[in-house]
Amino acid sequence: MTTETSELRRRVQLWFGPQHPGITGNMSVQAWLEGDTLTAGVTHVGYLHRGFEKLMERRRFIQSFPIVCRICVPEPDTNEYLLAAGLDELSGLAAEVPQRGRWIRTLVLEMSRLQMNLMTLGGHIGAMAMGAAPNWLIALRDLVLDRFEELTGGRIYHMFITYGGVRRDLPEGFAERMEANFRTIEEKLPLVDNVIFDSSVFRKRAIGVGVVPEEWVDEMSLSGPIVRAMGIPRDVRKDFPYEKYPELDFEVVTTTGSDIYARAWIRRQEIAQSMDLIRQIFRKMPEGPYCAKLPNMLTWTIPPGQTYVRAEATRGEMGYYVVTDGSDKIRRVHVRAPSYVHGVALLERMIPGTNIADLAPLMVSLQVCPPEMER
């Protein structure tokens, strides 16, 4: 008669994803459960692997722009910007990008951060099954998407920033409509604060849960809200300013606690910050052309070179390492995506000991964007 029960039988193997409402995108976590505690977890990606980096090597420069926006579906503009910035730099077009083009780029980047933060903030409490706040925030995000639709012609895939500038100028009355949206958002945000940050249940579930130790920051090259929630003011917009960020007035938001609550708080503050920045942008934006004179897209070649460009996505530092070889196609692109660090390395390290109920909120607060992991 056996009295010892093997490890295999003590645990249950559960898959979070690929088809699971608790997963934040097309990935999966293969987790082992003992009681209600996860003892180990392995992330699996590849469910939407399209080989973006490789695809770009087979396309002309302009043709890569409809591809890169898919690297992070909810926040495509960072990718578009980084590819554009890389190509601008390598081709020498950077000097010709008009000032207004640069301002519009900054505007689009900040709008993109705003809408992504609105969505993610809702996700924090949505992963704990509170339906109202995520719905409101998605609705508020849709207001920003309305503006994106108006500006770029698309709600999700904007395909708007290209080398040389942007594809269109601001429509008539854009700033006013944006301001009206901001007023709606600002009107609703106190309600959101009430149900998220003032909710006793959320506080119980979020405070002290999913704490990322500070020692891991450099060890795992963490960035973004995860780091700022520890009180470290690390932000590419400040540390390595790009586009018009040096001319904008803002402080890096930080807090302490490093738990789910702190990260949600950071995102809440960055929503307000983004709105402030966008207002500043509208005030400071000059008139003029929005795009440099572009070469013929079918025959343009870029001299050999390589560069690394970076920008602050809502998830953390996003970087593109772009190599050209003098042909009309990119030789190689490597995407440095924060989700890879946060969603694979960090998540796997944090899973052991996590309650099964806390996995979904944890993933949301680490803000995992699966397509970034598999480019």
């Binding site: 193997q13 690929p18 699971h20 003992e34 209600d36």
Partner: protein, 378 residues
Amino acid sequence: MISKLPIFGLAAVVARIAVPTLATAAGSLSAAHLLGWLGGLTAFGMTLLAVFQEDMKKLLAYSSVGQVGYVVLAMALMTPLGWTAALYYAVNHFLFKGLLFLAVAGVIYRTGVRTFADVGGLIRRMPASFIAVLIGIIALAGVPPLSGFAGKWLLYEALMDKGWLFLTAFMMFASVIAFLYCFRLIHSIFLGQLKDEHRQVREAPWPLLLAELLMIVPILVLSVRPRVLVEPLQHLVTGVFGVPGVRFASATTMTTSFGYFNAAAMMAMVVVLVVVLLVILVTAGAKPTKVNQLDIVYSGELPPSPEEVQYAWAFYRPYEKAFAPLLKARVTAFWNGVVDVVEGIADAGRRFYTGNAQTYVLYSVLFILVLAAFGLAR
């Protein structure tokens, strides 16, 4: 089975010795109440401990101790209804716990393991044992329509009748906790995924099944007509107290000062409902296709093995966490005290408890003889 014998002993002792002394002592709050709370706390504590067991026999053992707690509590009520409840409960417990021990013994005999995590899905190999356990746990949990409910009902009516309100609520709480281990017992052994090494397990040996049947029949009879048992017990109790605790409004309806309960109507309703709904389910809609046991919705992935999808270990870990303060920190001192006392008594008792069943039978016989002598002496 043997473990129930002391209950009758206790009953007899209390009837013969304690009642006259305790009942007559005016304001006898202390002793009876103490015994009542002791019984209640035993029922609660042991039930809670049973919930966290990983070994089926240990689970049943803790459960038994907990059930005895109810009986002790009912006894302590010192009312006719309380005694009826206690005796009914004891008999009923004898039946379903015997049934459960027999069925689980059959499982252990066939599989050679007694940890929950090592079995599972045996319903496909041992359906008869499963039905036995199913009947056993429904009776144990006190869920209508089986006989266990009558026991609970009598107990609560008695408690309310006596006015021990907190103990009533506390016992309701405790008996609901019993659901937890009841479910676990049946789920981890019989439901879920059948392990590969158990694919060839055979049904429990027929003598065992026969013995189970001998337990099942009275349970079913009691379920429909608790009066069969309650009436003789009434006679016994009336003998002690002079008044009956339960009256019979009709052939099947029992009434007390607090409530009423028609077991036959209950059973009839359940049977009719289940049959009707089963007919609806089978006839309406598309005919379901049977799928493989591992053919489950698994987030789009393939389940690796029966072992890894059977949730059996640490089944109530969140519950354990919720009760962690109770189980560990705060009341440790109190429980340590209790444990000390109990252990002291147990140490004394262990001299008698040799672990040999025959010795116990001998004790029982001796006890009855002594009792008889006592009775004769009066």
